[in-house]
């Protein structure tokens, strides 16, 4: 078992592409840690730096508090599952899985025992005698996992291992991966751009953008308390609604106001915003679609007219035109509204997010 720590890691690809920008991370022993971000955000590079496939331009990498920055991958006791699975085409499944053990000169019967054990765990015992090209995508993926697990590494690195699978298989595998990780108590670092995957699997999530770590925390924390506009927009589906608003202070009565928006704030909240905001007249209000509910005209603090209705069966996504913005509301009830009709919405002040547009940081 192992912990992983990155200290001030920067990776610059010549001539001057900054892939990873001064990243500090601490992955705890036994943790399922997610590196989440859009493509090109540096999450894969970060993972490869941990694996030792890339050398950081600056900074140090520690595994189990040992500085491994200058060690090649084979001396780091890590295992990696590649996005393409990277099975050896000329080896049978059995040999693919046994390969890392053979390189370590493990006794033959021990190899056999462990290969069969891990194959059983991943339900690929019947495939051991086949070549990779004879397997389906899901089967290949299991073989790749088996190969990574067979020698019980300190750290298990997974680079979008599910992205090449179809949707149903992907959902199945998520649960399975999580189960395996918990069962084997292996530290896992998992790279994904899929926030649903991140939310459902990770013990903690690090959200990356443009080579920087924006926020690290448990999925609920990242979801509920996004520290930046980017995190807020990246996590959640459908994504958070954003509107430009102004803070109005009428004798201690604070409210966030825009066309069709008038959210009265408790005084202490108003004060915090007033204090923190660089310009109280220009704020960004963030509301998650699932936190909007229909209400009466008097109770409502957001109003607009129905723009599009997306019925999804168990829920309905309502697109509402508020001022110049289109916002989405996720409603669990069946609705009878028609397009163009007026609609009154309510959001609890507990569930609002306020961002400073100049810094893109969360004020509330």
């Amino acid at each position: 078992m192992g912990s992983v720590e990155l200290k001030n890691v920067t990776k610059i690809f010549p001539p001057k592409t900054v892939a990873v920008n001064n990243v500090n991370l601490k992955v705890r022993d036994g943790e399922f840690f997610i590196l989440l971000g859009p493509s090109g955000c540096g999450k894969t590079t970060t993972l490869r730096i941990i694996a030792g496939l890339e050398r950081p331009t600056k900074g140090r990498v520690y595994i189990d508090n040992i500085d491994v920055t200058d060690l090649p991958p084979r001396k780091r006791d890590i295992a990696m599952v590649f996005q393409t699975w990277a099975l050896y085409p000329h080896m049978k499944v059995y040999d693919n899985i046994a390969f890392p053990l053979r390189l370590r000169k493990v006794a033959k019967d021990e190899i056999d025992r462990r290969v069969r054990e891990v194959a059983k765990m991943l339900q690929i015992e019947t495939l051991l005698d086949r070549y990779p090209r004879q397997l389906s995508g899901g089967q290949q993926q299991r073989v790749a996992l088996a190969r990574a697990l067979v020698r019980k590494p300190k750290v298990w690195l997974l680079d979008e291992p599910l992205s090449n699978l179809d949707a149903i298989l992907r959902v199945q595998m998520r649960a399975e991966l999580k189960r395996l990780q918990k069962e084997l108590k292996i530290t896992a670092i998992y790279v994904t751009h899929d926030q649903v995957e991140a939310m459902s699997m990770g013990d903690r999530v690090a959200v990356l953008n443009a080579g920087r770590v924006l926020q690290v925390g448990a999925p609920s924390e990242v979801y509920n308390k996004p520290n930046t506009l980017f995190v807020a927009s990246f996590i959640g589906s459908p994504p958070m609604n954003f509107m430009h608003v102004t803070l109005k202070n009428e004798g201690g009565n604070y409210a966030l106001v825009a066309e069709g928006v008038n959210i009265t704030l408790p005084t202490e909240l108003g004060k915090i915003i007033e204090e923190k905001a660089s310009d109280a007249n220009d704020l960004i209000l963030g509301v998650r679609p699932e936190h909007l509910e229909l209400s009466t005209a008097e109770d409502s603090n957001i109003r607009g007219e129905v723009y599009v209705i997306e019925p999804l069966g168990s829920e309905t996504i309502l697109n509402i035109k508020v001022g110049d913005n289109i916002i989405k509301a996720r409603l669990l009830k069946e609705i009878t509204l028609s397009i163009g009709s007026k609609v009154f919405l309510k959001v609890s002040t507990n569930n609002i997010h306020v961002f400073d547009p100049s810094t893109e940081r969360a004020i509330l």
């Binding site: 496939l53 084979r74 390189l103």
Partner: protein, 319 residues
């Protein structure tokens, strides 16, 4: 659609059966249109490839000579030339020399050096690799005659090698191609032919995705293990192809050794490849029948080698 097409063909046949000679010919060529386009090529191949081969086999069973009475009237003497051939110590010597030459210069020299260079070419952070590649390619593209003269000059008593050796206090009494004819042509041929193997292996290595190397690296393979267990098996087919091609070529190499050593193959015939032997017999000794027999034996041996390669290829790739 398919049905319609068949019908029209059927229709055409009926038309033809009632026609004249043109129609009959047309019916003969019907569906053989592709063959027509091959006719000019087949005629040329027949004249320039098949006929000489047949003629060569025939000549090898006569007492034909370039000069003398048997140049005018040669007679069929069966396989006597082949007996003569295998009693000729020069021929047996040339067999030995050719095999040693092919194994040392092609299979060991060119292939291993080519593979090493191809691996180096794939490495990052190696300075001057383009320079090396350029040099290797130049060796490949310059005309063989020029290369031959260059090697004679380089290995001459007053040549580059002697000059370098003299820097280390080694005094060369004779030209290198004189004292070590075989070694000189082996090195010259490695120098000349490495580029091909390098290109072939470079292409094969390009075909291996980068993540396979990385997977092996993460799995704990040392650079050597990575080569031995992953890269090597994956390019083994390319190696086999390379072996086939360079074996054929090297057995047939003539110009370079001829330019350096002449038809005798240097002192003690140490570098007399069988191509040189054939030339020597045909042009210097005017014994074209024996030379024809020798070239047929060469053909059979090379063919056997290629078949062995192809056979092993068939049983090679399983994945």
């Amino acid at each position: 659609m398919v049905q319609g097409k068949n019908e029209s063909v059927f229709q055409a046949r009926e038309d033809l059966s009632s026609g004249g000679i043109i129609d009959k010919l047309a019916s003969f060529f019907e569906g053989r249109g592709a063959f027509l386009f091959l006719v000019p090529a087949l005629v040329l191949i027949g004249i320039f490839v098949i006929f000489p081969v047949v003629w060569d086999v025939y000549i090898s069973m006569t007492n034909a000579s370039l000069v003398g009475p048997s140049a005018k009237h040669y007679i069929f003497i069966g396989i006597q030339n082949y007996f003569r051939l295998f009693q000729d110590f020069l021929f047996l010597n040339s067999l030995k020399v050719s095999f040693a030459f092919t194994i040392l210069s092609a299979l060991i020299g060119q292939a291993i050096l080519g593979l090493a260079l191809a691996l180096v070419m794939r490495m990052e952070d190696i300075k001057g690799k383009m320079l090396v590649a350029t040099v290797v390619f130049i060796a490949w593209v310059i005309p063989e005659v020029v290369a031959g003269y260059a090697w004679s000059a380089v290995t001459d008593k007053q040549g580059l090698v002697s000059a370098i050796l003299s820097l280390f206090g080694v005094k060369t009494e004779y030209s290198l191609y004189f004292t070590h004819p075989f070694e000189v042509i082996v090195v010259a041929n490695i120098w000349r032919g490495t580029a091909f193997s390098m290109i072939l292996f470079t292409a094969a290595l390009e075909g291996i995705p980068k993540y396979i190397y990385e997977a092996a690296e993460v799995d704990g393979a040392t650079p050597w293990q990575r080569f031995r267990y992953v890269v090597f098996p994956l390019i083994s087919q390319a190696i086999l192809v390379d072996f086939i091609l360079i074996t054929i070529w090297t057995f047939g190499v003539f110009t370079l050794p001829y330019m350096i050593l002449g038809p005798g193959g240097g002192i003690g015939n140490a570098g007399q490849l069988w191509t040189l032997y054939i030339y020597f017999k045909a042009i210097n000794n005017f014994d074209i029948a024996l030379a024809a027999a020798a070239s047929n034996v060469m053909f059979v041996i090379v063919l056997a080698l290629i078949l062995a390669y192809l056979w092993s290829m068939k049983y090679f790739r399983r994945w």
